[in-house]
C-alpha cells in the first residue's frame, strides 16, 4: 500500500512540476476511467450488454473529449473557418497542450476496452492511479497496457532482485542518444536544412533528411530507454518500444519495430475493430489507410502529420498489392528506408509546402555541400549500421554488464553521466515526443 502511495504521489509531483493545473486533468482521467471500468465489469458479469456498451462509450467519449479540447479543437476550428471563409468566427481556445495527454488517454482507453473484452480484471483505484500516472512513462510513453502493468502493480516488486546493470545501461544509452546524437544532429545538420531548404544543395538536403531519421529515432528511443531503465530500478518492466526499426525490410516490418506500443495499440483497438484483414481487399486497404491517417493525427493537429500518416498508409497498401517480397533484401531495405525518410520530411517540416520545397531541392540533384563533413557522414552511417547489430549481441552485452557488482554499475553510471554531459552541446532541446 505505502509504496503505491509513494509512487503515485511522486508521479503527481513530477507531472505538477511542469504545470500543477494539469494534475486535475490526470486525476479526471484516472477517476472517470476507473469508475467506468468498474461499471463495465459489473454490467459484464450481470450480462447487461447495453450497460457495457454505454459505460465504454462514456469512458471513451470522456477521453476523446480531453484530447479533442486540448489537442484538436483549434485545428478543426481554424480549418473550418478557413474553409467557410468565416475569418475567426469560431472561438479559438488557444490552450496549452498538456504534456503526455496523448499517452495517458490512450492507456486509459485500452483499459476500459480490455475490460469490455474481458481481457483484464478491474484494478483497485490506487493501482489504476499508479498505472495511469507512473512517472517514467507518463509524458512520452511507452503506452503500457493494463494487462502488462496490473500484475506488476498488484504485487510489491521484489527488493532483492533489482536489475541494476540493465537499468543503468539503458539510462546511459538513452541519455547518450538524446544528449549527444539527437542534439548534435539537430544543431549541426537537421535544423538548418529544414529551416532553409532552398539555401542547401540536394546532397545537404538529402543528408538533412537522413539526419532527421536518425535524430527522431535517437530522441524517442532514447527517452524510452531512460523510461524503461528508471522503471527497472523500481522493479517494473515495460514492453520494448523500438527494435532497430531502420533495419526493416518492409513497411509492415518497420511498424513492428517502430513505436511498437503505439502501432500495436492502433492494431488492436482501431485496425482490427475496423475489420482488419477480414473482408474484401478494398476494405482492408481502407482500414489500413484510416488507421495510418488517425495514427498520423495522434501525433499532432497539423496537416503535416496527416500527410505523414497518408504516406505510410498508401505505401503499406502498395507494398501489400505488389510482390515486393521477391526483391533482393538490399533493395527492399533501401526502398523501405527511403519511403520512411520521405514521410519524415512531412513530419519534420514546418508546413506541407515547406516539405515540398525540401523534396524539390533533393530532386534538383546538386552535389555541392555546405553542411556535410566527415563527422556528419560518420554519425549518420554509424547510426544506420547499428540497426543491424543482432538482438543476441545486445543481449550478450547486457548480460555481461549485469554480472558486474552493483557498485561497479553505480561508478560506471557516474562516470558515464559526466562523459555524456561533456560530449553534449550546451542547451538541450526538449524531447521531440513531449509535444505529442
Amino acid at each position: 500500500m505505502v509504496w503505491r502511495v509513494v509512487i503515485f504521489g511522486s508521479s503527481l509531483f513530477f507531472y505538477g512540476w511542469w504545470n500543477w493545473r494539469f494534475i486535475i486533468l490526470l486525476l479526471w482521467a484516472i477517476g472517470s476511467n476507473w469508475l467506468a471500468g468498474n461499471n463495465i465489469h459489473r454490467c459484464r458479469l450481470s450480462g447487461a450488454q447495453d450497460g457495457v456498451r454505454a459505460w465504454t462509450s462514456v469512458a471513451i467519449a470522456s477521453d476523446l473529449t480531453l484530447l479533442g479540447v486540448f489537442k484538436y479543437y483549434d485545428f478543426f476550428a481554424v480549418e473550418l473557418s478557413n474553409l467557410l471563409g468565416m475569418g475567426s468566427a469560431l472561438p479559438l481556445l488557444e490552450l496549452t497542450l498538456p504534456v503526455g495527454i496523448s499517452f495517458f488517454t490512450f492507456q486509459a482507453m485500452s483499459y476500459v476496452i480490455d475490460l469490455r473484452r474481458g481481457v483484464v480484471q478491474p484494478m483497485k483505484l490506487l493501482d489504476f492511479a499508479v498505472y495511469l500516472s507512473f512517472f517514467p512513462q507518463l509524458v512520452a510513453g511507452p503506452i503500457v497496457r493494463a494487462s502488462e502493468m496490473a500484475p506488476q502493480i498488484s504485487t510489491r516488486p521484489d527488493p532483492r532482485q533489482v536489475a541494476s546493470g540493465e537499468a543503468f545501461h539503458l539510462i546511459l544509452r538513452g541519455l547518450f542518444k538524446k544528449v549527444v546524437i539527437s542534439s548534435w544532429l539537430g544543431s549541426n545538420l537537421v535544423d538548418g536544412v529544414f529551416a532553409d531548404p532552398q539555401g542547401h544543395s540536394s546532397l545537404d538536403a538529402l543528408f538533412g533528411v537522413y539526419g532527421y531519421a536518425i535524430q527522431i529515432y535517437a530522441d524517442f528511443s532514447g527517452y524510452t530507454d531512460i523510461a524503461i531503465g528508471c522503471a527497472l530500478l523500481l522493479g517494473f518492466r515495460f514492453p520494448v518500444n523500438f527494435d532497430r526499426p531502420y533495419g526493416a525490410l518492409s513497411l509492415r516490418d518497420f511498424w513492428r519495430r517502430w513505436h511498437i506500443t503505439l502501432s500495436s495499440w492502433l492494431r488492436d483497438y482501431l485496425y482490427i475493430p475496423l475489420g482488419g484483414n477480414r473482408g474484401r481487399t478494398a476494405d482492408m486497404y481502407r482500414n489500413v489507410l484510416i488507421t495510418m491517417l488517425l495514427g498520423g493525427l495522434w501525433h499532432g493537429s497539423t496537416w503535416n502529420f496527416v500527410v505523414w500518416g497518408a504516406i505510410h498508409g498508401a505505401a503499406l497498401i502498395v507494398e501489400r498489392s505488389l510482390p515486393t517480397g521477391r526483391l533482393h533484401p538490399i533493395i527492399r531495405w533501401a526502398l523501405t528506408f527511403h519511403v520512411v525518410c520521405f514521410a519524415w520530411i512531412f513530419f519534420r517540416a514546418e508546413s506541407v509546402s515547406g516539405a515540398w520545397d525540401l523534396v524539390s531541392v533533393i530532386a534538383g540533384f546538386s552535389a555541392d555541400t555546405q553542411r556535410l563533413n566527415a563527422g556528419v557522414v560518420l554519425v549518420v552511417v554509424a547510426a544506420i549500421a547499428v540497426q543491424f547489430v543482432t538482438k543476441s549481441a545486445s543481449a550478450r552485452l547486457v548480460h555481461w554488464i549485469s554480472r558486474w557488482p552493483a557498485m561497479v554499475h553505480g561508478i560506471a553510471f557516474g562516470i558515464g553521466l559526466v562523459a555524456i554531459d561533456m560530449m553534449g552541446p550546451e542547451g538541450i532541446a526538449p524531447f521531440i515526443y513531449f509535444q505529442f
Partner: protein, 362 residues
C-alpha cells in the same frame, strides 16, 4: 499448490530478464555513489551553471550548494578529468580577447533628456521621436556578387524562429550574404552567460556587415550585476540606467564605426500579461535609445502580432483572410508563419533605403 515459491513467482513475472538482480539497498547505494562521483567530477561545470542563474534565492541556494562541493572537488583533484575532456573537445578554449573600440557611452540621466526612463504601455505614444520613415543611405551603393551586401541577424532564441527565414529571403538577391546567429537564453542582462557586446564587436571587426538585425529582451527582465559587482534589482532606477547603457553600447558598437544600418526588433506581444508588460517596458527603452540614433531603426511588432482588438493572438488572418498560427504554444516564440511575417516586415524595412532596395530589383 496455491503458493508458488518466490523463485517461481519471479520467473513467471519477469521471463525476459537477462540479469542477476542485486538487492535494492545495494543498488540505491551504488546509484548514490555514482551520482556523488558525477557531482564531484562535474562540480566546476555545475558551479558555472549556478552562477548563470538569475539573481535570487534559487541562485543563492545553488551557489551555497555548489561552491563548497567545487572547492572540495578541486582540492581533491577531481575536476581535472572534466577540464581535460573539455580541452580535448576544444570546449574550454578561452575567447580571444577582442580589441573593443567602443565609443564612450554617456550614462543616461533622466533629468538631462526630459524623458521618462520607463514609460507605461499606455504612454508609449508619448515618445518624442517616431520611427524613421526611411533609412538613411548606406555609403556603399554598389554591392555585387563579389562584394555582397552583408546582413547579420543576432539575438536570443527568437532569432531561431525567423533568422534562417530572413536569411533565405534576403539571399534571393545574389548580391546579398546573410548570417543568422541565435544564442539561446542570452540577452544583455547577463554577459557572464553570453557577452553579446564582445561578440558583436567581433562580428563588426571580422565581417564588417552592412546591416544588422538585433532582438533582445526575452531573458533580460532579471537582476543584473553592475561593474562593481553589486546586483541591481530589476526595473529599479539603477537597473534602468545600466540596462539603457548596455542597449546604447550595442547600438553604438554596430553603428558608430561605420554607417551601418541597425534594425532593433521589439519584443512581440506575449500571452501572459505580466511577461507582456515587462517586455513592453523593455521595448520602451529600446525605442527611446533608438530615437537618439540616426542609423538605428526600432521595429515595433505590436501591430503585426495583435488581433483587431490589439490583444495577443496565436491565430491571425493572413493577406487572404485565412487564419494562420503565428505563435508557438508557449505564447512567447514565433511559429514558422510568424517568422515569415516578421522576415517580410524586416526586409521591407531594409528596402526603405532606395539603394538597398535595388538589391532585390535587379
Amino acid at each position: 499448490m496455491e503458493k508458488m515459491t518466490k523463485t517461481e513467482a519471479d520467473s513467471k513475472r519477469d521471463p525476459t530478464a537477462t540479469n542477476q538482480g542485486a538487492p535494492a539497498g545495494e543498488v540505491l547505494l551504488a546509484g548514490l555513489v555514482g551520482l556523488l562521483i558525477a557531482i564531484f567530477l562535474n562540480s566546476s561545470v555545475l558551479l558555472t551553471d549556478a552562477k548563470r542563474l538569475p539573481d535570487g534565492s534559487g541562485r543563492s541556494i545553488a551557489l551555497a550548494v555548489w561552491n563548497p562541493i567545487e572547492s572540495a572537488g578541486s582540492f581533491l583533484g577531481l575536476t581535472w578529468p572534466r577540464a581535460a575532456g573539455d580541452r580535448l573537445l576544444g570546449r574550454s578554449e578561452p575567447e580571444q580577447p577582442i580589441a573593443l573600440v567602443r565609443k564612450p557611452i554617456e550614462t543616461y540621466t533622466g533629468s538631462e533628456k526630459e524623458e521618462p526612463v520607463v514609460l507605461g504601455v499606455e504612454n508609449e505614444q508619448d515618445l518624442k521621436d517616431r520611427p524613421k520613415e526611411t533609412l538613411p543611405e548606406s555609403p556603399t551603393a554598389q554591392w555585387t556578387v563579389d562584394r555582397p551586401f552583408e546582413l547579420w541577424v543576432i539575438g536570443d532564441s527568437m532569432v531561431q524562429f525567423f533568422g534562417d527565414i530572413l536569411v533565405s529571403l534576403a539571399e534571393t538577391s545574389n548580391s546579398v550574404e546573410a548570417t543568422s546567429e541565435p544564442v539561446l537564453a542570452s540577452g544583455l542582462s547577463r554577459p557572464d552567460y553570453f557577452d553579446w557586446p564582445t561578440r558583436i564587436a567581433e562580428i563588426m571587426t571580422k565581417h564588417d556587415p552592412d546591416a544588422v538585425v538585433v532582438i533582445f529582451g526575452g531573458n533580460d527582465a532579471q537582476n543584473i550585476k553592475s561593474a562593481d559587482g553589486t546586483w541591481l534589482a530589476r526595473f529599479e532606477d539603477s537597473w534602468l540606467d545600466e540596462y539603457r547603457r548596455r542597449i546604447g553600447t550595442v547600438m553604438d558598437l554596430v553603428t558608430s564605426d561605420r554607417n551601418r544600418i541597425l534594425l532593433w526588433v521589439a519584443q512581440p506581444p506575449m500571452r501572459r500579461q505580466g511577461f507582456d508588460e515587462r517586455m513592453q517596458l523593455l521595448n520602451n527603452l529600446y525605442r527611446a535609445e533608438a530615437a537618439d540614433r540616426e542609423r538605428v531603426q526600432y521595429v515595433d511588432l505590436r501591430g503585426l502580432f495583435t488581433d483587431s482588438s490589439g490583444e495577443y493572438a496565436r491565430y491571425l488572418p493572413d493577406d487572404e483572410g485565412k487564419l494562420v498560427d503565428v505563435r508557438l504554444t508557449d505564447g512567447v516564440h514565433l511559429s514558422h508563419w510568424g517568422g515569415e511575417w516578421l522576415s517580410a516586415l524586416l526586409l521591407q524595412e531594409l528596402r526603405k533605403s532606395p539603394k538597398i532596395d535595388q538589391l532585390w530589383n535587379r
